[in-house]
């Protein structure tokens, strides 16, 4: 009975620890650094040097030590430094063009393809011709393949196989 109680107490202590460590993936500084910006220099934190980015790194280390997840750390960094700390373009002002320009360019490419592909398909292929004896040669500037050529090719292949 006493042993069973001790086992239950041990499980009671260990289970929450085990479940917490399973739910919280281990985060390290490098893992966070490449997803946030140095707010003073405007470059990714993992390439920034100086007192200000060192301060950001120090804060990240403290937050890791508190057991926060990467997402929680990012939220905390936004609360401390503002949204510019995330390596994402702003969703207002000039920053919105980072989202809009690829969409507009993609739309133009699709529109160009819709307009031009049917036209290209309708255009007859240059250099397509029929040689004597009905053998077809493809490609611009290609010499038509004659029956003699075919016969010589067959002889060469037969010699090669033999």
């Amino acid at each position: 009975m006493r042993r069973a109680l001790a086992l239950a107490a041990l499980l009671f202590v260990l289970l929450p620890v085990a479940s917490t460590s399973a739910a919280t993936p281990k985060v390290d500084l490098i893992d966070v650094e490449d997803e946030v910006m140095c707010v003073d220099c405007g470059i990714p934190l993992n390439t920034a040097e100086g007192a200000q980015p060192d301060g950001q790194r120090e804060l990240i280390r403290e937050l890791i030590a508190q057991g926060m997840t990467k997402e929680q750390i990012k939220q905390e960094l936004v609360a401390e430094y503002g949204p510019d700390v995330l390596a994402l373009p702003e969703t207002s002002g000039v920053g919105i063009t980072a989202y809009a320009v690829p969409l507009v360019l993609g739309g133009l490419v699709v529109a160009a393809l819709v307009l031009l592909v049917p036209r290209w398909r309708r255009r007859p292929a240059a250099g397509m011709g029929t040689a004597e004896g009905g053998t077809v040669a493809a490609g611009a500037g290609a010499r038509p393949v004659s029956d003699a050529d075919v016969a010589r090719l067959d002889e060469d292949l037969a010699r090669y196989d033999g």
Binding site: V39, Q52, D54, Y81, G82, P83, G93, L105
Partner: protein, 181 residues
């Protein structure tokens, strides 16, 4: 007309992208309009944003301090010249509060709360500071580096500005100017 459609669209897109690049560069350039106005003797209205007070649940703004002389100082814990400035600002704050004529108001720039609090404590800064998360106020003052100091008169106008590390002579001159205007 049809054969010109694709080149025209391509040219419009290219011009648009060049315009966008120009706008992006221009919008991020340093704004020194406050300095220019002060240098020409026109005292511009001090920009104001309500911001949370460091180490407090309250908020503060330059506009709320109208009627007082305000020494607005942008600082950060990682800024080395800010260490030298701290005692000068502290003396100015004591002088202004003793006479009841004003205050020093610090503004933290790209700094975390714990680091700012540690710095303020270490360098004996008793004057209030606000946390400018996202540098909204800094942007309106054209601040891109710290330290920078703006002296505001009772009418809420910027009467002097110094971008860099201030000294006692600057504070004495600027406060005299603010109190006289």
């Amino acid at each position: 007309m049809k054969r010109f459609l694709v080149p025209i669209v391509a040219a419009v897109v290219a011009l648009g992208l060049v315009g966008l690049l120009g706008y992006g560069l221009f919008s991020r350039s340093t704004d020194d309009s406050i300095e220019q106005a002060v240098a020409s003797g026109r005292f511009p209205p001090a920009p104001s944003v309500e911001l949370p007070v460091l180490g407090s649940e309250e908020s503060q703004s330059v506009a709320a301090l109208r009627g007082q002389v305000v020494v607005l100082n942008f600082w950060a814990s990682w800024c080395i010249p800010c260490r030298t400035e701290a005692p000068i600002l502290e003396r100015a704050h004591k002088r202004l509060t003793a006479s009841g004529s004003g205050t020093v108001l610090g503004v933290t720039y790209n700094d975390s709360r714990p680091a700012s609090l540690t710095f303020a404590d270490k360098y004996g800064m008793s004057f209030p500071s606000v946390r400018d998360v996202g540098a909204k106020l800094a942007e309106r003052y054209g601040t891109r580096r710290v330290p920078e100091t703006f002296v505001i008169d009772r009418r809420g106008r910027v009467v002097d500005v110094f971008r860099g590390q201030i000294d006692q002579a600057f504070i004495d001159r600027a406060l005299a100017k603010a109190q006289a205007s």
